[in-house]
């Protein structure tokens, strides 16, 4: 997906969420994730056991490990490289570790996952 196009689309918009359809919910494994490749970054979309979805930049605040490849549990993901635990909702490292990853709003409607780019 082209982020510049997206940004253009957003210009003139007063910061309202623009929901973009990304994938059918059942295409993401429960307690798993998918990766959306954009021009500027990879975005990880996670699905929890209770079918909540979360989206964030696919980059661990520690050493940029791909969070999409981690193990999802509750509403957090453990980074595959050095086991930092990241809160899916806020993008913040849990426990004594400090750091934060960009998050995007995500929702499910009629079995389809949408992400808000703003």
């Amino acid at each position: 997906m082209n982020m510049n196009a997206l940004k253009e689309e957003l210009d003139g918009d007063s910061g309202m969420d623009v929901w973009t359809e990304v994938v059918a919910l059942d295409q993401i494994p429960q307690l798993g994730s998918r990766v959306i490749a954009t021009d500027t970054m990879n975005i990880a979309v996670f699905r929890t056991a209770s079918d909540e979805v979360f989206a964030m930049k696919d980059e661990c605040p520690h050493k940029k490990g791909p969070l999409s490849q981690g193990i999802v549990h509750g509403t957090s993901v453990t980074c595959p490289l050095h086991n930092w635990k990241i809160d899916l909702a806020s993008g913040e490292a849990l426990g004594p570790d400090e750091g934060c990853t960009n998050v995007f709003s995500a929702k499910v409607e009629n079995g389809t996952v949408y992400i808000a780019f703003r």
Binding site: T20, E21, A49, I71, H73, G74, T78, H82
Partner: protein, 817 residues
């Protein structure tokens, strides 16, 4: 409406119970989901680390350093905190607590954690100014103040607390005499030789001793001026510290009619005779024991919290404790019953010149007690052997030389941890120095290895420095360090140990992860990154034909069937059975590398070829080409059977006694595809020159003229361990059978992430031999079960994925629209 929980005693055990309670929250809110909490404390401080009063007295730390819970912590967690206002009455009829200042606080549940009070010997003059115990901040402040104005101090009591007080006062510049009733110091923790070494060592620092002296009177006007003994002798003193013992503080409970003996009597869920009232800490008497160290108290706190949170699945069953003295520069360790009785055996080592003494008391080759002085590096190891009741027969001859004598290439030599400089690197993986660790411990009030890992990352990667970190922890926090809770839980999601999980799966025929978590009352709905892979494995190993593997419970390497690299790409290692390879296979690999622009190829230490830096989305196509050329996955990424390393053997080598390459290929054909608790490696050497390094493998074969020597439990990685000889057999068929049986025994019983080396050390070689050698039927049954599970396991995951399985794993999303 939340219920009301009141805690009396703002000390270490009580507040720990609250912290444990908060962990049971189902929401992410701070504080407790279930209770409104009020804490009543007699001292004017928030909860602090009482253990650290000794270093504070010695001027090594400040009061601020030892605060465990700041006032903000109480606020954030919604706790109403009453300080400097002791509870003076519990009304069980009105369910309320009355404080000295007249507050009347209602409770639905009450937790008593009043600790203990120092015992003051009731001799004439004991109430004079300048006579005190050693228990709280106030005592320390009084002592420090006295040290500025006065010179001579007498400490009555040559136990742990007395010696720490004496050391501190000496550091504050006082002239200190320790008075002890018996003829040896710390008689409850040390035997006579260790005690003598300790005394000598303290004397060289300037401490004076009066042994076998019975205090008769404290002499002085308003303030003490001397101490008089039963034999009529006398020493001058401007300050007298009584450290002769503690008494559980049960006054309040007793007055309220709660059943007390030496302490407040509680059951296994930490409830007193009034089920609404719980008690934890030093004030408690449980199964006839009162404890005076924090490790057991923290276990009590955990159980009480579990019950208060209405989870109710755990019981406190008592603790084993070990002792360390917190006097900088003196290494001392003691645990269990260190004075031998009839029928016990003693292992002892003494090196007078270097001041080292070690003694182990054994009964039937199980450690009952240990005393060490001078070199306490292995204290925690002995303690865990003791707790696990490990049969030490197999390494009895070397046990006194320590764990590293069993094979430790990493840090074996770094014995006296405390003598290391602050900048010494302890954790080589994460670059953590000793200073970092000590600082993190004191700053964050840390008591456990897990907490050190979380805060510093030390010991959280390869784990080879765990022993060192444990030693630093132990010598920094003293005996409070709970290295060895009575059992070790799988992770924070449960209180069950690995063995309990394995047994439950087997005995109750639990066949899904949810069933296990429900049956064992997991605290989290879907586990965590630590327990999910373990449960998934245990189920797979127990029910190979029924259990459906859960990809989301596998670490990424096993889910993507390649090793994740630091830049997020993957590596690909095709299997080369026995290290043999044909020209057309090499050509196929070369072609694949050209086609997918593989940035680097390397011959591995496992006799095959690694292709680095492959993009995830290219993996299935690349695997297609490789499987077409006849390769299967090498599982170089898995907790799985890795490689069978072989040497040239009889076919070519002038020394070869058997066909080691052919046997290697057969073994690899037997075992490939099998998932394990950890990686598993084999090797076959054609003669005792052992070019395939078979004696550092999980299962190694050394061919000899008359047959095959089978070796087990070797490890060439972080901690080198040479194998143990299992037995010698005569035919290749037997090698295969014994290999299958051994592998299956390990697969069924070891803990997840425990390699064969630590497993064999834990259960003992004798046990493994009994199962594999002595019982032919059992061996055959094991081998048979291995073969059954291999039927399912030997499906090449690469081919499946090349054919389209789990394609979502490898395809990034395109956005619709």
């Amino acid at each position: 409406m939340k219920e009301k929980l009141v805690l009396i005693g703002n000390g270490m055990a009580g507040v720990r119970a609250l912290e444990e309670l908060f962990k049971h929250n189902t929401s992410s809110d701070k504080g407790s989901d279930l209770y409104d909490i009020t804490v009543i404390g007699a001292e004017p401080h928030p909860n602090y680390n009482r253990i650290m009063l000794s270093p504070v007295l010695a001027g090594e730390q400040t009061i601020n350093d030892i605060i465990l819970n700041t006032s903000e912590w109480y606020e954030e967690n919604g706790i109403e905190l009453v300080t400097g206002d002791p509870a003076i009455e519990i009304s069980r009829i009105q369910k309320s607590v009355i404080t000295e200042s007249g507050k009347n606080i209602h409770y639905d549940r009450l937790l008593i954690a009043t600790g203990s009070t120092p015992f003051i010997i009731p001799v004439p003059g004991a109430d004079k100014e300048g006579v005190l115990g050693f228990r709280d901040i106030h005592d320390v402040q009084t002592m420090v103040k006295a040290s500025r104005e006065y010179k001579k101090a007498v400490v009555i009591g040559g136990g742990l607390l007395g010696l720490e007080a004496a050391n501190g006062l000496m550091k504050q510049g006082m002239d200190v005499t320790v008075v002890h009733l018996l003829d040896s110091l710390m008689e409850r923790q040390l035997d006579k030789p260790a005690s003598a070494l300790l005394k000598a060592s303290l004397e060289t620092r300037g401490m004076k001793f009066l042994m076998e002296a019975s205090t008769a009177e404290i002499v002085g006007d308003k303030r003490v001026s001397s101490v008089k003994f039963a034999d009529g002798s006398e020493v001058e003193a401007d300050l007298v510290v009584m450290a002769v013992g503690i008494r559980p503080d049960i006054e309040l409970a007793q007055k309220a009619g709660i059943h007390c003996q030496r302490g407040i009597v509680v059951n296994d869920t930490m409830q007193t005779f009034d089920p609404l009232i719980y008690a934890v800490g030093e004030c408690v008497q449980h199964r006839n024991e009162c404890y005076g160290l924090v490790a057991p108290l923290f276990e009590q706190a955990r159980v009480a919290a579990n019950h208060l949170a209405q989870v109710g699945s755990t019981r406190y069953i008592g603790s084993m404790t070990s002792t360390k003295l917190k006097v900088t520069g003196i290494d001392l360790f003691s645990a269990g019953e260190f004075n031998e009785e009839e029928g016990d055996e003693v292992l002892q080592m003494q090196d007078v010149a270097s001041g080292v003494y070690k003694k182990l008391v054994l009964k039937d080759n199980v450690i009952k007690g240990a005393v060490m002085f001078g070199d306490t590096m292995d204290g925690t190891w002995y303690f865990s052997l003791m707790r696990d009741a490990t049969n030490i027969a197999d390494f009895r001859r070397t046990i006194l030389f320590g764990q590293h004598d069993l094979g430790d290439a990493g840090h074996g030599e770094a014995s006296a941890v405390m003598s290391l400089p602050d900048d010494a690197e302890i954790c080589g993986c994460n670059g953590v120095s000793k200073g970092n660790i000590v600082q993190a411990i004191s700053k964050n009030g840390i008591f456990t290895l897990d907490e050190v890992r979380a805060h510093t990352k030390a010991s959280s990667s390869c784990g080879s420095c765990t022993g060192l970190v444990e030693s630093i922890l132990a010598s920094t926090v003293g005996e409070g360090y709970d290295a060895t809770p009575s059992k070790k839980a799988v992770c924070a999601c449960t209180d069950c140990s690995h063995d309990e999980v394995i047994d439950a799966i087997k005995d109750h025929e639990l066949k899904t992860m949810d069933a296990v978590r429900q049956f064992l009352e997991w605290k989290t709905p879907d586990g965590c990154a630590a327990c999910r892979p373990a449960l998934n494995y245990y189920l797979l190993a127990r029910w190979p034909e029924e259990y459906q593997d859960d990809a989301q419970s596998r670490f990424i390497n096993e889910r993507a069937h390649g090793n994740i690299q630091k830049d997020g790409t993957y590596s690909v290692v095709p299997r080369m059975f026995g290290g043999l390879v044909k020209p057309n296979e090499l050509r196929a690999i070369a072609d694949v590398c050209d086609k997918f622009e593989v940035p680097e190829m390397k011959v591995t230490g496992g006799q095959r070829i690694d292709l680095f830096g492959v993009k995830k989305e290219d993996l299935p196509a690349m695997w297609k080409d490789l499987t077409d050329a006849g390769f299967v996955s090498g599982h170089a990424y898995g907790k799985a059977m890795r490689t069978v390393k072989t040497c040239a053997g009889k076919t070519w080598c002038r020394f070869g006694t058997q066909n080691s390459t052919r046997l290697g290929v057969k073994l690899e054909e037997l075992t490939w595809g099998s998932y394990m608790q950890h990686k598993f490696k084999l090797a076959v050497s054609g003669c005792p020159r052992n070019c395939a390094e078979a004696t550092i493998k999980d299962f190694g074969v050394v061919c000899v003229d008359s047959g095959y020597e089978l070796h087990i439990g070797g490890n060439g990685g972080i901690k080198v361990r040479v194998t143990d000889l299992l037995c010698k057999v005569e035919t290749e068929e037997e090698v295969l059978e014994y290999c299958a049986a051994f592998t299956q025994k390990y697969r069924e019983e070891a803990h997840y992430l425990e390699r064969t080396a630590p497993w064999v050390e834990r259960v003992g070689l004798t046990y493994v031999k009994e199962c594999i050698l002595d019982d032919e039927a059992e061996r055959k049954a094991l081998a048979e079960r291995f073969k059954i599970s291999q039927k399912v396991a030997q499906v090449d995951p690469w081919k499946e994925r090349a054919d389209g399985q789990a394609s979502h794993e490898f395809t990034p999303l395109k956005i619709a629209g």
